[in-house]
């Protein structure tokens, strides 16, 4: 038994520095990634009700039929919702805590699919549902087929 005067540490801190690299197989989604490199947003379309989905899906999540058609979603969309993180949050790309100046927005694209991104307007008071936003891309040579090839969405 421990004597009362012996120290009893309540916790012990271990750091786990490591790099975890996942090689995510894109499969059929490689079309979407390739389109991003080209500065385009495309989505899979349901053959039953015509709804477009991002992330693109091999089968329609709602009707469970195979989706084979890809539809261009345009460069603009309507704002559905927006929020700003007011405390330091992890940047999943670097692993660092950082403060986020840019709001995160959810958008319904011209083609009907919905996607999320960052917004250049940092004053959330000015972000109203229904307003039109436009994609601002990284320079073509910097694009890697990832969603952050779209730098941010800018109010039109």
């Amino acid at each position: 038994m421990l004597k009362k005067e012996e120290p009893q540490d309540p916790s012990v801190a271990f750091r786990y520095p490591r790099v975890i690299t996942y090689k995510h197989s894109l499969g059929y989604q490689s079309k979407f990634a390739h389109a991003l490199k080209m500065g385009r947003i495309i989505a899979t379309k349901c053959p039953v009700d015509g709804r477009c989905t991002i992330p693109p899906r091999i089968v329609c999540p709602m009707h469970h039929v195979k989706q084979t058609e890809w539809v261009d979603q345009g460069q603009r969309g309507k704002l559905l919702s927006a929020f700003k993180i007011n405390f330091p949050m992890f940047d999943s790309r670097t692993g660092d805590l950082k403060s986020w100046e840019t709001p995160i927005v959810s958008i319904e694209l011209e083609g009907g699919a919905r996607m999320d991104g960052w917004c250049s307007e940092t004053d959330t008071e000015k972000l109203k549902p229904g307003m039109v936003l436009e994609a601002v891309w990284r320079p073509a040579e910097e694009r890697q087929g990832r969603v952050d090839d779209i730098l941010y969405w800018k109010p039109v």
Binding site: F14, Y22, S25, Y28, S30, V59, P61
Partner: protein, 384 residues
């Protein structure tokens, strides 16, 4: 068992490195296959599939694989959709429980593994005790090495006996079109291969990375008889966890497997497993595990696993062929192995195992394992 659970359809993908295939495509392929075989879809009126049980280890593959993709891929969206993040045999167990309880009549059980997406040792290390073991560098491979050393020392199991396990696995895999590794190996080839983690050599460990998926449809007795002419009945099922801490166990024995097997056998009325089973599919991630699991499964006495290998009785054509598919040592991925054992046993009992068929097989033994040094075992007995 008061009620009976029948396996009415099984499917598997080819096991191989599939860097260009999305997890969703793997799941779609396997689950669509069993749905096509039975003509079943997801229905809310009790005429189709009632629920899903899925296994897959999200951290091992990157995305929340099972959570993100499964619901919509198999059509389980807005339906009961359970997850098992353990060996796939536990998903079969859970699916059987859903039916035994009367909660569901028909269940879809699916599992996937996408080992090409991650260096799995990075993740396995995190499965060990965070205060006392991780910092030593223990993971599943090194835990297995500790067990291999202890087991072979205590019972005098020889390197040659263990090498024969690998030779048998690869030879059997030649008859299995789904297998990953089916190269001809000699005992000397195995013994000369690079040391991976003393005393385990590279050829004595599960080949990695491998991707693949399996699926089964389970049904209650009444529906199973309507859905197929060749139902395979789950007659007994049990699992058992041992201590997580390696030092709490004698690694030379596998007490949790003894318990899991005896409970499953009791349920199935099996008293002499070696004589009664016609075929077995056992999850051996390392060569030493096959003789050790023989012992735990009661196929031979303690310390007799090496002699059973020597006897040739577990080879194709022997009294009890073990792993006609080639098993895990020919490349069945982590997490999927036990489900794959059930799938293979079902094919054997349906007489649909092709070139690896054990003629006239009536009773089969399927086994899955997870955790460091065989912490969790699951035993499923099957009959046609």
């Amino acid at each position: 068992m008061a009620r009976r659970v029948g396996i009415v359809a099984v499917a598997q993908t080819k096991f191989e490195e599939k860097p260009g295939v999305h997890i969703g495509e793997l799941l779609y392929q396997a689950s669509r296959d069993v749905m096509k075989q039975t003509g079943l879809e997801f229905k809310d009126d009790g005429t189709g599939i009632d629920c899903t049980v899925a296994s897959g280890y999200d951290m091992m593959s990157g995305p929340g694989g099972a959570y993100m993709f499964l619901g919509y891929i198999v059509g389980a969206w807005q339906r009961e959709d359970e997850r098992v993040i353990e060996d796939g045999s536990m998903a079969v167990y859970y699916g059987a429980a859903q039916i035994l309880s009367g909660h569901a009549d028909v269940a879809l059980v699916v599992g996937y593994s996408k080992e090409t997406q991650i260096d799995k040792n990075l993740i396995e290390c995190l499965s060990l005790d965070q205060i006392y073991q991780r910092r030593i560098g223990l993971d599943f491979v090194s835990s297995a090495a500790l067990q291999a050393m202890r087991y072979t020392t205590k019972y005098g199991i020889t390197p040659e006996q263990l090498a024969k396990v690998v030779v048998k696995a690869r030879k059997n895999a030649k008859n299995n079109p789904y297998a990953y590794c089916c190269d001809s190996l000699s005992v000397q080839d195995v013994l000369r291969s690079t040391m991976l983690c003393d005393p385990i050599r590279v050829q004595e460990a599960k080949p990695t990375p491998v991707d693949g998926a399996c699926a089964l449809i389970l049904a209650n007795e009444e529906k199973a008889k309507k859905l197929t002419k060749k139902p395979v009945w789950i007659t007994g099922v049990s699992s058992c966890y041992d201590h997580h801490e390696l030092g709490y166990r004698d690694l030379a024995d596998c007490d949790s497997l003894v318990t899991a097997a005896s409970k499953a056998y009791k349920m199935a009325g099996i008293t002499n497993p070696f004589k009664e089973f016609d075929v077995a599919e056992i999850s051996e991630h390392y060569s030493y595990q096959e003789p050790l699991w023989y012992e735990g499964l009661g196929l031979c006495g303690k310390g007799q696993g090496g002699k059973l290998i020597d006897s040739g009785k577990t080879q194709m054509g022997g009294e009890l062929p073990v792993n006609p598919s080639g098993g895990v040592l020919s490349g069945i991925p982590h997490c999927l192995a036990g489900m794959h054992s059930v799938v293979e046993c079902a094919l054997q009992l349906r007489g649909e195992a092709g070139d690896r068929q054990v003629k006239g097989a009536k009773k089969a033994l399927a086994h899955g394992v997870d955790g460091p040094a065989g912490q969790l075992h699951c035993v499923i007995t099957l009959e046609n």
